[in-house]
């Protein structure tokens, strides 16, 4: 074997990295003695085993790479997935509508459904900005916060209910989307990402520190739950409540189910608007912007308006989702709007395959559903979760669904492979 030396060297380097990583985690053990003070005991055997295992695994992997037949990039496979999407999407929709009505389903599962659906909606909203227009936005949570605080403050100060505040929240978030859009019009790539990241943090810090208005870190409590044509979902069950009106036993499941259908409807609205816009000049201009900004300008497309509408429309849906979040939790504080939320939503979009609506749904199920369902595995769940993400990115580097369906065709539409698509540098 001619490059056995190189393989051994590579394996040794990987083993060295493993030594550095595992050193503090496996090599040292924190315990306590009878006196109750902390002790630190080394575990060289375990560490050596872990490093040796890493070395062997890397060596075997490289040897296997040398012998396996050359791999063909599975373009067919992803085309197949997108074709299957024709059937998966309606099936998922039926499952989503029917889920809370299944007899004997536990309240906690409906609640998880609400959570996943919230992230699906956020993912669809961000997909407009990142997936279609190719503008990398790391501060998306800011608009979610604007939506949530709009509703919380309007209900606290003016006694408005959820349904009146929903459109207002969306409009205010869209307005803030434009406020973010203006200063970043000329920025691209990394610079755009940094400024949007900072914008997200600014919004959170303002909320935290403007105690007189927002209650600061204590947040806002007693945000009203939504009502159904004036019927509340109070557990008291008297007249004027949902349970009382329909002569049912009050059950928390009724409220969760109602919330579930609200967020399902909001998410489907997001999806519908996005799919409609994609087939129209505005959506095509967004995608063209992602593909080549300079060519867009030479065709007379107003880049400023196109970018601002992408920011505004994306932010509007985050505002709707934020309003829903506030009414669902009945309590919001700045802790709910940290950078990790932006990162999670962005991960959903990237994992799903930028621009793909179905991909976002699958990715949201993986990103939100899997950690929740693995609760019983306790400390290992994040390990498994992280590993799963790495595996997905190795197997499908452009996300679950990386092909693009043209929005218009003369004959039979042909899918466009990921190799052709630009990720956008805006």
């Amino acid at each position: 074997m001619k490059n056995l030396g190189a393989i051994l060297k590579d394996s040794a380097a990987v083993a060295g990295a493993a030594l550095l990583l595992f050193g503090p985690f496996l090599g040292l053990r924190l315990g306590d003695n009878e006196a109750g003070s902390l002790t630190l005991s080394p575990r060289p055997g375990l560490l050596a085993a872990a490093v040796a295992l890493t070395f062997a695994a890397r060596l075997l992997m490289l040897l296997w790479y040398q012998h396996r037949p050359p791999r063909i990039i599975p373009v067919k496979l992803s085309a197949g997935t997108a074709q299957a999407g024709k059937y998966i999407a309606p099936a998922l929709l039926i499952a989503a509508v029917a889920m809370p009505l299944l007899p004997g389903i536990e309240n906690s599962y409906i609640d998880l459904g609400v959570l996943i659906m919230t992230y699906v909606m956020l993912g669809w909203g961000l997909n407009i900005v990142v997936g279609l227009a190719g503008l990398l936005d790391l501060g998306y949570v800011a608009f979610y916060a604007v939506g949530a605080y709009s509703f919380a403050l309007l209900s606290e100060n003016f006694g408005l209910g959820f349904w009146e505040c929903l459109p207002i929240s969306g409009l205010l978030a869209a307005l803030w989307g434009m406020c973010l859009g203006f200063p970043v019009l000329r920025l691209r790539g990394d610079y755009l990402a940094i400024v949007t990241l900072a914008f997200g943090e600014i919004v959170r810090l303002v909320i935290t520190n403007w105690v007189a208005l927002t209650g600061g870190p204590n947040g806002i409590t007693d945000i009203p739950h939504p009502s159904l044509f004036g019927l509340s979902f109070s557990m008291a069950g008297g007249p004027g409540t949902f349970a009382g009106f329909f002569h049912l036993t009050p059950d928390p499941k009724q409220r969760t189910t109602y919330l579930y259908y609200i967020i399902l409807a909001l998410a489907l609205l997001t999806n519908w608007v996005t799919l409609r816009l994609r087939k129209q000049p505005l959506g095509r201009a967004w995608e063209a912007l992602r593909e080549d900004e300079i060519a867009c300008r030479s065709l007379g497309i107003n880049l400023r308006n196109t970018k601002l509408t992408a920011f505004a429309v994306g932010a509007m849906f985050a505002g709707f989702a934020g309003c829903f979040f506030a009414t669902r939790q009945a309590f919001i504080s700045p802790d709910s709007f940290t950078f990790i939320e932006s990162a999670t939503v962005l991960a959903i979009v990237v994992l799903g395959g930028a621009g793909s609506q179905l991909g976002v749904v699958l990715a949201a199920c993986v990103m939100i559903g899997v950690p929740e369902l693995l609760q019983s595995l306790q400390i290992y769940r994040m390990l498994i979760f992280g590993l799963a993400l790495v595996v997905i990115m190795v197997v499908r580097p452009r996300g679950f669904i990386a092909t693009r369906q043209p929005t218009v065709s003369l004959g039979k539409a042909k899918l466009i492979g990921a190799a052709m698509l630009s990720e956008g540098r805006g």
């Binding site: 409609r276 080549d292 030479s298 218009v408 539409a413 042909k414 698509l421």
Partner: protein
Amino acid sequence: MTDTLLSVSELTMRFGGLTAVNGLSFAAQRGNITAVIGPNGAGKTTVFNCITGFYKPTSGSITIAHAPGHALRLDKMSGHAIAKKGRVARTFQNIRLFNGMSVLENLLVAQHNRLQAATGFGVLGVLGLGGYRAAERAAIERAKYWLEATHLLERADDAAGSLPYGAQRRLEIARAMCTDPVLLCLDEPAAGLNPRESAALNELLLNIRAQGCSLLLIEHDMGVVMKISDHVVVLDHGKKIADGTGVEIRNDPAVISAYLGEGDEDDADSPVGAELEAGS
């Protein structure tokens, strides 16, 4: 009689200490094919970028007259307005297509402004109201017309990035024509084409001229320049050194010396001299 469409006067473009274009003046007549030629680094593409708004000229003015006596200052407009209101379309030296979109989609993006107005700026379109459907049908018909003219009709549903090089060049021209321009600026349209493709390009450009659209082209391929252009402007070091018909240019000593270097006027057998002769 002269009917000036585009007039460039005293155009200067400096990048820091470098003067790329220096006091250039020329005019392009309506219905003509005007070629801008010159050695590498003469400032041809800079002139193009000034005309199409990608650079703001340091000084000088560029005007376009959609109708005689009805002039618009292009140098005062923003980049997209030059394409939209100035009705100047362009192609790029290194092709810039929307690779991830289909050929037909590329041509519909080019008709964005007309279509966008038909959707009531997005809102009515989402609700399915207004005359968008009819506008889109018309846009597809226009796209089909230019696909036919560029022999790309059977590739309409393929990704633009998957087309061969020559077809991508033609698609870029078709896309520019879909914006309904009065002046089409082509930056080296024949670069990288084989002789047969080059001949087909000549035909396409003459066809575009016949439909009333004037052309301005930068070209190195003298076969294209001499065969189809009505008027040639020669640049060297950012200045105009000659201006006239192909025959006049070919015999101009300043042009020959710019291409061959000073003092080599008698060296007509050199490759560049032959190139200048090629179009005769």
